[in-house]
Structures are given as C-alpha cells and as structure tokens.
C-alpha cells in the first residue's frame, strides 16, 4: 500500500464503523422495547398490589370483602394442576421424542408425524380446552376436576416436551453413540445409559418452559369449567395414615392463579383490582422462578455433560 492511501483507508474504516454504530443503536432500542415493556408491567402490578402482599394473602380463601380475600385456593390449585401436567406430559413427551429420534424408521409416516407434532405446538390453547371438555370431562367422566385440568395442560405442553427432547437428543454427537454401539450395546442400552441421561438437562429445560407457559394458561381451564370462587382445599395428596397417599384431590373442583386474577379484574370495586394486581405479581414471580430453575439446570447440570 502506498503511504498516500493511508488517510483514505482510515476514512473508509471510520465510515464502516459509523454504519456499525447505527445497527448497535437500533438493536439496543429493539431490545429495550421488550425489556422495558415487561419491567413496566411488572412494576405497575407490584406498585398496585404491594399493600395486599402479606402472609394472609397466601393463606386466605377468596372473600366477598376484598381486604380479606386471598389466593390460597388459587396457588394450591395451580400447584396441583401443574403436578398432574408434569406427571402426564413428561413421560409421554420424552418417550415419544426418544422413539421418534432413536427408533422410528425414517419414512413418510414419521415425516407426517413430525410435521404434526410441530404444528400441535401452534394450536391455540382454547382448542385444547374444547377437546378436553369433550374427552376428559364428559367422555372419560373426569368431571371439572384437577385431573381434567392437569391432563389438558399436559396435552398442551406435550409438543413442547417432544420437540425439546428431540432437539436435545440431536445435539448428542454421533461419535458418542458410535462409542456405545462399538462396545456392543443394544439400542435400548444406548438409549437408557446414554441418550436419555445426556439429553436430560435439555429435556428438563423444555419441560419447564412448557410448564411456565401452562401455569399462565386461562382459556382451556375456563373451557373445562374451573370454578371462580372456591373456599375449600382439595384433600391433601399425602397424609399421615396408611397408605399415605390418596388420589381424592384429583377429582376435586379447583381454581388456578390466572382464573382468580380474571375473576377479580371483572369486579367493579377498586380494592379487587388491587388484589388482581397482587395475584398477577405472584403469578409472574412463579413463572420467573420456574425459568430461573431452567437456567440453573442449563448452567450447572449441563456443565458435566460435554463432548
């Protein structure tokens, strides 16, 4: 390069960097839009509901008097419904994902199933509600119960679990499989000893993402007929007497956090709006806590699994 070219080169570099700066600014603004919207919503709920967040709020049943109303039946209901959701969706989703990835022959039928699973993830949740109303509530006779709600949300997150399982399995490198097969392992041994354990952190992350979506779902739960005013708790799933577990709670009527919120926001009194904000704040915290767990798994459990 000639010496007189150097200023020219420098000008070009400066111009290129200005263009880059433009993108950095635009990208940062785009990022802020998302983050600020969330922070504003969250802060507004916290501000509006702050006074109501007392220990009593968690231990009181809903009431006609706003000041005495609490979310006991709602958070217990949400927890139990989530339990059923997890217990139904995780084994089904993981088994389906493992089968599709490891066992299913690659042909037209599996291609169609694959496309269907992906599409299921995009089906509006109200459709799942209608399906569940027909199948679980009436045909199977589960009634308007925790069981019906849990299975409905289980169906809803099933595609998410299947996709997470498959993606997680696909990230296991070929040479790890070959190592196991090379020692004379059967397909089941490879699946049981390697594929599933190594993809578990990814699967769990997917499950939690699905669950944090399910915990906020309202439409399908309303469709199957959740109660909006409920002043009792389901039977405890575990008890002090033999056989220590009972399944009566599955048949119990219930409400969940978003429905409790929905109920309060439809009341005219200002004080109930405050309750709704407080419940919303707690619900978001529950979701954030679940996401925190999934982040924790990503960073701490996954670090032992590398190739």
């Amino acid at each position: 390069m000639k010496a007189e070219d150097i200023p020219l080169i420098r000008r070009i570099i400066r111009r290129n960097k200005r263009i880059e700066l433009l993108f950095v600014v635009a990208g940062f603004v785009a990022l802020l839009m998302g983050v600020l919207t969330f922070v504003a919503l969250f802060a507004q709920m916290a501000w509006a509901g702050w006074e109501r967040i007392t220990p009593d709020f968690f231990t009181n049943f809903p009431s006609r008097r706003a000041a005495q109303a609490g979310i006991l039946s709602a958070w217990v209901g949400s927890l139990l419904v989530m339990l059923v959701t997890a217990i139904s969706a995780v084994p089904l989703g993981v088994a389906a994902g493992v089968y599709l990835e490891e066992y299913a022959p690659k042909n037209l039928l599996t291609d169609i199933i694959e496309i269907n699973v992906t599409n299921l993830a995009g089906v509006p949740s109200i459709v799942y509600g209608l399906l569940a109303l027909g199948v679980f509530v009436y045909t199977f006779g589960f009634g308007q119960s925790i069981l019906s709600a849990g299975l409905t949300l289980g169906l809803l997150i099933l595609p998410v679990v299947i996709v997470a399982t498959r993606e997680s399995i696909r990230s296991i490198p070929l040479h790890i499989r070959e190592a196991a097969y090379g020692l004379g392992a059967t397909r089941w041994q490879v699946t049981r000893d390697h594929i599933v354990p190594y993809s578990l952190p990814g699967i769990m992350t997917g499950v939690i993402i699905g669950m944090s979506r399910a915990i906020g779902e309202t439409a399908p739960i309303i469709t199957i007929g959740a109660l909006t005013f409920i002043a009792f708790l389901p039977d405890a799933p575990v008890g002090p007497e033999f056989p220590w577990v009972n399944f009566e709670w599955l048949k119990s009527g219930f409400t969940v956090m978003p429905i409790q919120m929905f109920n309060w926001t439809s009341r005219p009194e200002e004080a109930f709006q405050q309750n709704a904000a407080a419940a919303g704040f707690i619900l978001v915290l529950m979701t954030l806590a679940m996401n925190a767990v999934s982040i924790w798994i990503r960073y701490h459990v996954r670090k032992d699994i590398k190739w």
């Binding site: 690659k106 490198p173 040479h175 790890i176 499989r177 070959e178 190592a179 196991a180 097969y181 090379g182 020692l183 004379g184 392992a185 059967t186 041994q189 000893d193 390697h194 190594y198 032992d304 699994i305 590398k306 190739w307």
Partner: protein, 296 residues
C-alpha cells in the same frame, strides 16, 4: 510422560529417513526391524480373512473386491489417500455401517478360529462388536466418570460383581498405560482428561472386555505429537496381546507401529505385504509413489 516422549522423538527421524530414502535396505531404518523376522513370515496365524469384499454406499461402490489377511497378534496398517476406503473397510469389521441406512456388503470377512462370517446377516452386529473393539479418530469418552467409562463394556455384558469390575477396570487402565495418571481420580469426569489421556481411556474401555481384535481409526489424528507418541508406544505394547488393525494417514506411523501394511487407492487394495517390504521394496509403482510422497 516425558521419558516416553523423548524416546519416541529419537525414533521419529529414523523412521522418517526410511520413508524418504525409500530404496535402501530397511534393516537399519525400521525400528521394528530386529523383530521383523519373528513377527512376520509364514508361521504367523491368520485371525481374520477378508475375501472378495465389496462395499456400497447406496449405489456407490466404495470398496472393490478386497481380499487380505489380518494376522493374529500383529499390527496391520491400512494406508492410502483420503477417500480410498480404508476407514470404510475398518468400520466394516465391527459392522458400524449397520447403524446407517443404505449401506450394503458383498463378500465375506471370516473371523478365525471359529470361521464366523462377520458380514452374515444372521450374525448379530452386537455379537461382532462384543468380539471386536474400536478406537475412534476423535477421543470419544462418555460424559461419565473415568471408572464408568471403562466399566461400561462390562456392564452391558451383565457383569454386576463390584470387585470383578474394579479389577478389570484397573487391569484395563494399566493395559492402556493410564493407571498411574488416574488412579486417584477414578470418579472424576472423563472429559476433564487431556486429549491423549482421553484416547488412552477409550483404549482402556475396549481392553476391559478383552476383545479379539482392536480397530484403530486414525487414533492420533486429533492429538499433539507427544500424545501421539504415547499412543504409538501403547500400540507397541498391545501388539503381543491382541490383533490390531489401524487406519492411519501418517506413513511414518504405519512404518513405526505395524507389521503388515495394506495400501489402498480408490476403493481397491493395491498392495498388501509386510510393512518392511511395502516401505522398502514396494512391488507396485503406485505404492512407491504414494509412500515416497510423489502422490497423495
């Protein structure tokens, strides 16, 4: 580690000269030379024989009617330019191709003394893999502990006795020259080991189940020179105990570690013979061109 390295380093130039010089007698140049008379020749039994073996990836004929012996408790090297099919041939020995659709075999590979045809559809590939171990190009320990890696082959064979597993793990790690480096951290993750240690762990993993044949698919191509030297040293130690088949890109390595060499080109076996003869006095012009670096 250091002593192994220096020893190997002093060997390297010797073997290197042999390859470059090409024509002179091999006696002074091949580090194996003093033993070659005993290690090769008419009396060496055959462990496996490849007969008229062809291999197809879909419609593509990757290997064309290969026939060659694999001698018992000897090291046989497969050399040749990229894409010549040497890895394909090696992976056939434990039916790795069965894992992927569209592959087809033709011909036989007989394992002696029982004369089992490894390629017979009636022979379960799992049985073949239990008899023949494989070490891969990239070290591929499982993301489990060092101990569990070595124990895995025993576990899938149904071994439950803790003390038997302990003994075999120790024995295998000793056999792979890794024991002294890991004996105090058997339960640490295997992935924390260095690349060369990982590869020796993979060798130990195979040794634990006492395979009849050990396959090495370019075992040192992902390793630094010192780790490479220690793997070669290990192959030297193992060759009296197990039949070894090794694919390598590195001709000096083939000259250093093997008793027999097969030169392959475009899916054909061009020449098979004692390593000394192949490197010093190749019968075919193509072989000579390849090993002297004029081609490939």
């Amino acid at each position: 580690m250091v002593s192994v390295a220096t020893m190997q380093m002093s060997e390297q130039p010797v073997a290197g000269t042999a390859v470059q010089a090409g024509t002179a007698s091999g006696e002074a140049r091949n580090p194996n030379s003093s033993e070659t008379t005993a290690r090769t020749g008419a009396g060496v039994p055959v462990k496996a024989s490849v007969e008229n073996f062809s291999f197809y990836y879909g419609d593509f004929k990757a290997l064309k009617s290969i026939s060659m012996p694999v001698h018992e408790k000897r090291v046989t090297a497969l050399i040749g330019p990229s894409g010549c099919g040497k890895s394909t041939l090696l992976r056939t020995f434990n039916r790795m191709h069965d894992l992927y659709p569209g592959n087809r075999y033709d011909g036989t590979i007989r394992l002696h003394p029982d004369n089992t045809n490894l390629l017979d559809p009636a022979v379960d590939p799992i049985e073949v893999r239990m008899r023949i171990g494989m070490v891969f190009q990239k070290p591929n320990p499982f993301p489990k502990s060092i101990y569990e890696n070595v124990a895995y082959g025993l576990r899938i064979r149904g071994e439950r006795n803790r003390s038997v597993i302990d003994d075999r793990v120790r024995e295998a790690l000793r056999g792979a020259a890794l024991w002294s480096e890991v004996e105090h951290r058997l339960h640490d993750p295997a992935t924390a080991l260095s690349g060369g240690q990982q590869q020796r762990l993979c060798i130990a993993r195979c040794l634990a189940t006492q395979p009849e044949v050990l396959l090495f698919d370019e075992p040192t191509s992902a390793l630094d020179p010192i780790a490479t030297a220690s793997i070669e040293e290990l192959i030297h130690e193992l060759r009296d105990k197990v039949t070894i088949l090794i694919v390598t890109h590195n001709m000096q390595q083939a000259a250093r570690v093997s008793d027999y060499t097969a030169y392959m080109y475009l899916g054909e076996l061009m020449e098979f013979g004692e390593t000394n003869q192949i490197f010093v006095n190749p019968k075919r012009k193509e072989t000579e061109d390849y090993i002297t670096g004029r081609f490939g």
